[in-house]
Structures are given as structure tokens and as C-alpha cells.
Amino acid sequence: MAFLIDCPNCGRRPRTEYTWGGEEPGIAEPGRDAQDAWYGRAWLRRNASGRQRECWFHAGGCCRWVAVERDTRTNEVHVLD
């Protein structure tokens, strides 16, 4: 599990500088009520085998959240913002 993430502020850094923030939370679907949206956000995970959108917090650097797309099989990381 050694890979690098390109922080938009700090540049290329090893993932040990980051805290994993989990999958990017699902956006509430229209028509579903707030309870369901919150429930999904708090408890449901896709846990994809393949590319998934994730949030990483640059705790050992500039303390910003970085949205990435990571392939959970190869740990290939593409920074989205």
C-alpha cells in the first residue's frame, strides 16, 4: 500500500501523509426523504472493486481535503480537484 497522491497545494506526497476519509458520500437522490439520505450517507458503502471516488485529508500537510478517484485493485490514483 505505497502510493502517492498529488495534493493541489503541496504536490506529490506519499499516502502516509494523508488520512483516508472514505468513499465520497452519496448525493441525496431527489424524491427520497432526508432520513433515507442521511441513513445512506452514514451507513451504506459501495465498496467498489475498481475505481471509486474517495476523500483524502492531507493531515500531514496543508490540511485540505482532496477528492480522488482510486482503483481499489491497483491503487492507481487520479486527483479530481
Binding site: M1, A2, F3, L4, R12, R13, P14, T19, G21, P25, A34, Q35, A37, W38, Y39, R41, A42, W43, C55, F57, A59, C63, R64, W65, T74, N75
Partner: protein
């Protein structure tokens, strides 16, 4: 014993230990003997590991190997402007005998030095290529963790060490080794040698040996090269050394050639029989962008070829996912393995032992390797991997069983202290008042990454000062944040379960911090600073995660807020005790009387000349002021308080006293008294939640939970008697386990023991009487109380 065993060597066949000694307890007896006889060292008990650092590098290109191909690759990369790290096991060029190759290496090295974007790690051994890619390089004083985008492996090749009877005798040399011995160290490999030449390079080595005065008894040489051998040396054309003669050192060589077999007297045999690639690292990295260059993929390639291959590898922008070594490296090994002789020099595995293993059914490279331990020594098969494959191929005839063995990192023996590099580096956080605590002989304890005073040698004295006089405590480890910006109020109102909108300037509020699941993960004080925004505190352990939490929501909602972490820049002293106001008034000109500065208010005041944000709260249950101040001015403030409070009986208190003080008030410590699933209702914190708000983090979850019957809750429990039950003690009700204690102390001011603990329902209701089982004091009856033990009306904190 050694000599006896030498004669019995025929009995000590492969697998001997497994077959004979791994029965019952005998292995325990013989293992130490075997270890001693085979020269296996022991771990020194007193040698402390060297303190070693761990360094991180993120170059574009990592080149493993500092030969012609490796340096050319680095140079090509450097010329393209990318950052390059070269890892070379020894010194650059150090092992290459004088000659054309050495000159070229030195030239390339000199050129590399002119590039600033190249780092050469000499004496740096790359121990493997891990996923990522990650290339750990063990250097003389640090472990370098290199995480490049691309890796070039240019580890070269080593000379083939053939298998024949006597190939492990003293006096059998490889050509490069002998040349280096004579050329660089001026030592002769023997006084009279037989030289076996079959490569271009070997002729140079032969010449070097001759000019340094070694007498060459005979040169075994193929027709094609014979013209390159100097005159006056006896040649044996197209011959082969089939045995080295002698018992412990070489006394002669048995040479077979088309003209017949003959014995040649000599005391040294030098073998230059071609190269075997050192492809261990290359084979290790199946999923990584790695490319080989030079001898490692093309053994015996010329200088110009190596340079060209290196330059190409270094200049390539992106590799194919996998570039395997060309056929010569992984393809069929050159020639058969003799029936006698040592196959694996590191592990001392003989050809006859391989035969035995084969007959016993270990009929593939992977099985033979595991059973005989061939290729498992320090060189990790660099010399014998090909022999192993040839052996299997000769016998099985099936390529399926003679494939290369799986190469795994590490590729070299590694010291544990190298692997542990950096792990002994503990970063100790200190508050600005650390030296004051040391001056007072405080017993410092770890609290997360912080060092905090546990006590100053007199816990009950410290406690009494808070309850009866005045005391100060360093609580600078609290998480401290400023929140400002146009959306600050709206943002905090959406985040917290209390009303932030209704918070007037100068007022402060306690609130639990909830996650999306409605569970309490921390607690905060929010103080409104009017147009300047808000001041927030978190617990010491929650200070770090709090920032990620706040920023996550600010990002998600797109809130226009500034989140400024002041945890390190602000220090905090808690001034507490019935005489706290009296002391504060002596040091400030700002009004601190109860009407101007009441409970749950915050004021910006100047104390002893130090600007402070003072918050009137009461974690310890007495009149108290949290003085948040610039951390660098902490000692000044501390000294002033101690000095002006002397006649009031001031003293500082530590964590130990604090834990009792807050427990008497029934105040929880998040993490100690709470669980991961502690909802406000379970903790008795509903009063702090405003469910009428339209939105706050965790509200939908709390709404859902409000329909469920509470199954567990945290309760305050009173135990009469002088001794408190141990923290963690189980709680019983009529023989049934109903919970456990999370905090428990004896209270001197109340005369009984105070505790917090989790209770489950017992027959429909929560029990109001429990029995704690203490391992030392047996069963201790306790009573559940519904209010704070000490000063339940809160008159003292409001004073």
C-alpha cells in the same frame, strides 16, 4: 567433530535434519549445536540498534545499479529535466577492474555530477521493488523510501559459477574477482593458475593477471578466441575443466578436450564462462512500471549497447505495464549441471543432494528450492538460480517444472534495525509551559502525542487547592479554532446540535459534537466573538480529527468560512477555585465581577499584560476561567498567577487531580466514559440537543433513535466506603451482569466514592442499586444517583 562429520558427509544428506532430528524433543537439544557448528551467529543482546532515519524521496525516475547502463539511464533522465535517484550497492565503479569499462563509468559519473536533479545514493542497496512502486534503499545511515514514477533496473550480471567436482575449493576464482584482486588490491589469485576463457572480457582479465606476475600454467580457450591469447602461454583448445583436484585447496585441474583428458598442476583456477543476469529485482515487480537495461536483460552486451539501452530506458516517458527481460535472461539456461560439485554456494547444496531430493519427489524448481534451500542464501540465487533450473530441465524434460522461482522482496539480507528505521523517532508535543512543569518536578505522562503533567507530587494537595483555594492547570493541549467568514454562523449552526444563531456576543455554550450516525465523538465550547466570528474548543485528543471534520462539512456545503487551527499557537491556563476571581482581579484592570463577567461568558481581557480570551466554564466544578493566550507568553502569565496567588495558597494541579474533580461533578471524558455508539440520550446529554432545529449533523439519526427504547445508559453511581472499586469493574444486579465502571475514584470532600458506569436494563428498568465486583475488595454495593455528586445545583461554578 567437524572432521568426523566430514567423513560422514555421505550420511548427512539433504533433509537430514527433518528426517532424523525433528522428532519429539530432540530438535530442541541439537538445534543449538547445529547453529554453532554451521557458524550461524547469535543476536547480540546488549547492542542497541543505531538510531536510523527514514527519508522519503519522490523522484520521477529511480535507477537501481550504477554501472554503464544505469548511469546512462540516469543521465538520459537528467537531460530531460526529470528528478532521478540512482541507488548503487557499493561505490560507483568501485568493483570494476581498471580498463575501458571503468573509464567510461567514471566519465558518466562525472557528467552526472553536473546535474542538480540527480541524487546518487552510494552504498545504497535497493532491497526490493514493492507495489507503488516503492524501492527501499538501505543506505549507510538512513533508510531511503524511494517512490518514483518509473524504475530502471540495471543490476548487471555476475559471472557464471559452473558446477563440477571441487568447485568450492579454495583457489577456484571467477575472472572478474581474480582481476579485481590483482588489479585493485595487488593480490595474486595463485602462483600458478589455469585460466578458462570464453568471453571477450576474459582476455583482458587474463592479460591483467599475466602482467601482474601470475604464472599461467594453461589457458583453456575456444578456437574463436585463441588468437587473442598472448604468445608463450600454453593453450588447451575447446577444453573444459571437469574437476578441481585437491582436498581443501586446489592442487590441480582435470581438463577434458578433444585431444583427451589431462591433469594440470596448479594452485588456482580462474573461470570466465559468461554471465548470468542478476534479475532478482526485475523478476520481483510484476505489476510495476519497471524496465531493465544492460547486462541484466542482455548479459554480455558490449559497452556501447549497454549505454544505448540505458539511455533509452532513462529517456522513455512511460513504460508498458510490464517489460520482461529478453529471452536470454529468463529463457533456457546455457548448459547442463554436473553430477558432482556444489550447486548453491551460499547454502552449500551439492548436486548429489539435489539428486536425492529429486528421487524423493521434489520435482520442480519451487519444490527443490524449498526442500534443499538452494537459491535461498544471501545472494538469493544470483549465482545458482540458473543451475537449479537447468537441473530440473535436464531431468523432467518439461518446461512447466523448470520455470524461474518466484522472486519476492527483500532481494538482499536486511538488518532488522534497517527495517525499524524511523520507528523509534517519537515526536513529543510540548506546551509552552513545559519548562514550568519541569521546574515544579511534575511527573509527566504521555497523553496522545503530548507530554502533560500527571501530578506535581501531591495529588490531594493539588485537589484541595482547587476545592478550597485557587489553582491553575495547563490545558493548552485543547483543540482551539477560530471560525470566521460570512457563513460562519450558518455553518456552525448546521454543524452543532445546539443553537449557534441565538448565541449573543460574549456568550458561550457547551455542546457535544455528533457524527452522522448521531453518536458523540467529541465535545466543544462555542464562544461568540461577535463580528470577529467564533472561538471553538475541542478535547485534547479530538483536536486533530476536529479539523478534518470541520473542513469536510465546509467543503461539502460550500460554506464560505475560515477555519483557523490555533491549537499550537494558543496556550491555555485554567484558573480555578473559590478564590479564582480574587486572584484574577489583582492581575487585570478589566471588570471581572459576577455581573460584568458571569458564568458561561467569554471576555477578551488582559491578564498580567497578556491578552487573553477568558472563558467562564466549570469542568472541575468551581468558579473557573480558561485563559486562552498566545502560547509564547504562557510562562509569563503562569509566573504572574503563581506569584500573585501565593498568599491565597495557589498551586498547580495535574491530570490526576483533574480526573477526580470532574468525576465529582459527573462530567464525562469522551473516549474514557463513552463508546463509539454513545448517543446523547445514553450519556444523559439530551439537554444539550435542540431537536427543534431544522438541521444539524446527526439529527435524522437521533430522530430515528428516539423511537427506540434506550437499552444502555451511562449512570453516576455512589459507593459508600473509603475505597473506590477499580475502574472497569463489572456491575451486577441480583446475580446478573448489568454493566461496568468507566471511571471510579474516592472523593475526600464527599467522604464516599464516585463513579460513572454503563448500565443495561435489568427486567425492564435500569437498576438503581448495583454491586461492583472488585478483584481485590470483593463485592461493593453502590447506588445510582441522578444528579452530580458535588454541588448539584452548580452554585459554586456560578459564584
Amino acid at each position: 567433530v567437524g572432521a568426523v562429520l566430514w567423513h560422514l558427509r555421505g550420511l548427512l544428506r539433504v533433509g537430514f535434519y527433518y528426517k532424523m532430528l525433528k522428532r519429539g524433543r530432540s530438535w530442541l537439544l541439537v538445534e543449538p549445536l547445529i547453529r554453532r557448528m554451521t557458524g550461524i551467529g547469535s543476536v547480540p543482546r546488549n547492542a542497541a540498534p543505531r538510531p536510523r532515519e527514514r527519508l522519503y524521496h519522490f523522484p520521477e525516475l529511480c535507477v537501481i545499479g550504477g554501472g554503464v547502463a544505469g548511469l546512462s539511464a540516469a543521465l538520459a533522465g537528467a537531460e530531460r529535466g526529470v528528478t532521478v535517484i540512482v541507488a548503487e550497492e557499493g561505490g560507483i565503479g568501485e568493483k570494476i577492474p581498471p580498463g575501458m569499462v571503468r573509464r567510461r563509468v567514471d566519465e558518466l559519473h562525472a557528467q552526472l555530477r553536473t546535474h542538480e536533479n540527480v541524487t546518487v545514493l552510494e552504498n545504497g542497496t535497493a532491497i526490493g521493488i514493492y507495489e507503488g512502486p516503492l524501492v527501499p534503499v538501505v543506505g549507510p545511515d538512513a533508510l531511503h523510501l524511494v517512490q518514483p514514477s518509473r524504475v530502471v533496473v540495471a543490476t548487471g550480471a555476475s559471472e557464471r559459477h559452473p558446477v563440477f567436482p571441487g568447485n568450492d575449493l579454495v583457489g577456484v576464482w571467477l575472472g572478474r574477482g581474480a582481476a579485481r584482486l590483482a588489479g585493485a588490491h595487488k593480490l595474486d589469485p595463485g602462483s600458478e593458475i589455469v585460466y578458462v576463457a570464453s568471453t571477450e572480457e576474459s582476455l583482458d582479465h587474463l592479460e591483467l593477471l599475466r602482467t601482474s606476475g601470475v604464472h599461467v600454467a594453461a589457458v583453456v580457450v575456444p578456437d574463436a578466441l585463441s588468437s587473442g591469447v598472448a604468445g608463450g602461454v600454453r593453450q588447451i583448445r575447446n577444453g573444459e575443466v571437469v574437476a578441481a583436484l585437491g582436498r581443501t585447496r586446489v592442487r590441480g585441474a582435470l581438463i577434458e578436450s578433444p585431444t583427451g583428458a589431462e591433469r594440470v598442476r596448479c594452485d588456482g583456477i580462474v573461470l570466465s564462462l559468461g554471465l548470468t543476469p542478476r534479475a532478482g529485482l526485475l523478476r520481483q515487480a510484476p505489476e510495476v512500471e519497471v524496465v531493465g537495461a544492460g547486462d541484466v536483460v542482455d548479459p554480455g552486451c558490449g559497452l556501447a549497447e549497454a549505454e544505448a539501452a540505458g539511455r533509452e530506458a532513462g529517456a522513455t516517458v512511460s513504460y508498458q505495464k510490464k517489460l520482461v527481460p529478453v529471452a536470454r535472461a529468463s529463457g533456457s539456461p546455457p548448459s547442463g549441471v554436473a553430477r558432482e560439485g556444489v550447486v548453491c554456494l551460499c547454502e552449500d547444496v551439492r548436486a548429489c543432494e539435489m539428486d536425492t531430493a529429486w528421487r524423493e519427489g521434489f520435482q520442480s524448481t519451487e519444490l527443490l528450492k524449498r526442500y534443499t534451500t538452494a537459491t535461498m542464501g544471501p545472494c538469493q540465487g544470483a549465482m545458482c538460480h540458473d543451475h537449479l533450473r537447468t537441473f530440473v530441465k535436464d531431468r523432467s524434460g518439461s518446461p512447466a517444472w523448470s520455470g524461474p522461482t518466484t522472486a519476492r522482496p527483500p532481494a538482499r539480507p536486511v538488518l532488522l534495525e534497517d527495517l525499524a528505521a524511523g520507528v523509534r523517532t517519537a515526536i513529543e508535543h510540548r506546551t509552552g509551559l513545559h519548562e514550568r512543569h519541569e521546574g515544579l518536578n511534575a511527573r509527566m505522562e504521555w497523553a496522545g502525542a503530548w507530554k502533560r503533567p500527571d501530578n506535581y507530587g501531591d495529588v490531594s494537595g493539588e485537589y484541595s487547592a482547587v476545592r478550597h483555594a485557587v489553582s491553575i492547570m495547563d490545558i493548552g493541549t485543547l483543540g482551539k479554532y477560530y471560525i470566521a467568514g460570512p457563513d460562519a454562523t450558518e455553518f456552525l449552526d448546521r454543524v452543532y446540535p445546539c443553537s449557534v444563531r441565538g448565541l449573543k456576543e460574549g456568550r458561550l455554550r457547551y455542546t457535544p459534537a455528533l457524527n452522522e450516525a448521531g453518536y458523540v465523538f467529541d465535545e466543544s465550547l462555542i464562544c461568540s466573538l461577535g463580528s470577529k466570528g467564533y472561538f471553538l474548543t475541542f478535547t485534547s485528543s479530538g483536536a486533530g480529527p476536529a479539523e478534518a471534520w470541520l473542513r469536510e462539512w465546509a467543503r461539502e456545503w460550500g460554506s464560505n468560512v475560515y477555519i483557523v487551527n490555533q491549537t499550537a499557537t494558543l496556550g491555555t491556563i485554567n484558573l480555578a477555585g473559590p478564590r479564582a476571581r480574587e486572584l484574577l482581579a489583582r492581575l487585570t484592570e478589566d471588570p471581572v465581577d459576577p455581573d460584568s463577567f458571569p458564568y458561561t461568558n467569554g471576555r477578551e481581557i488582559e491578564v498580567a499584560g497578556v491578552p487573553c480570551l477568558a472563558l467562564r466554564v466549570g469542568f472541575v466544578g468551581e468558579l473557573s476561567y480558561e485563559l486562552h493566550h498566545p502560547a509564547l507568553r504562557g510562562p509569563e502569565l503562569w509566573d504572574a498567577l503563581m506569584e500573585r496567588g501565593t498568599d491565597l495558597g495557589i498551586r498547580s494541579h495535574g491530570l490526576d487531580a483533574l480526573k477526580l474533580l470532574r468525576l465529582e461533578k459527573g462530567h464525562i471524558i469522551v473516549g474514557q466514559d463513552t463508546d463509539f455508539d454513545s448517543s446523547p440520550a445514553k450519556l444523559g446529554l439530551e439537554w444539550a440537543i435542540k431537536m427543534t432545529k431544522t438541521e444539524f449533523i446527526g439529527k435524522p439519526a437521533l430522530e430515528r433513535m428516539s423511537h427506540l427504547r434506550l437499552q444502555r445508559r451511562l449512570a453516576a453511581i455512589r459507593f459508600d466506603g473509603r475505597v473506590a472499586p477499580v475502574e472497569g469493574a463489572q456491575l451486577f444486579r441480583e446475580g446478573e451482569v448489568v454493566g461496568y465502571l468507566t471511571s471510579s475514584r474516592h472523593s475526600p470532600v464527599l467522604g464516599y466514592s464516585v463513579a460513572l458506569g454503563w448500565l443495561a436494563r435489568n427486567g425492564g428498568d435500569f437498576p438503581d442499586e448495583v454491586v461492583a465486583m472488585d478483584p481485590q475488595h470483593g463485592s461493593m454495593p453502590g447506588r445510582v444517583v441522578t444528579r452530580a455528586f458535588y454541588d448539584p445545583e452548580g452554585a459554586r461554578v456560578r459564584a
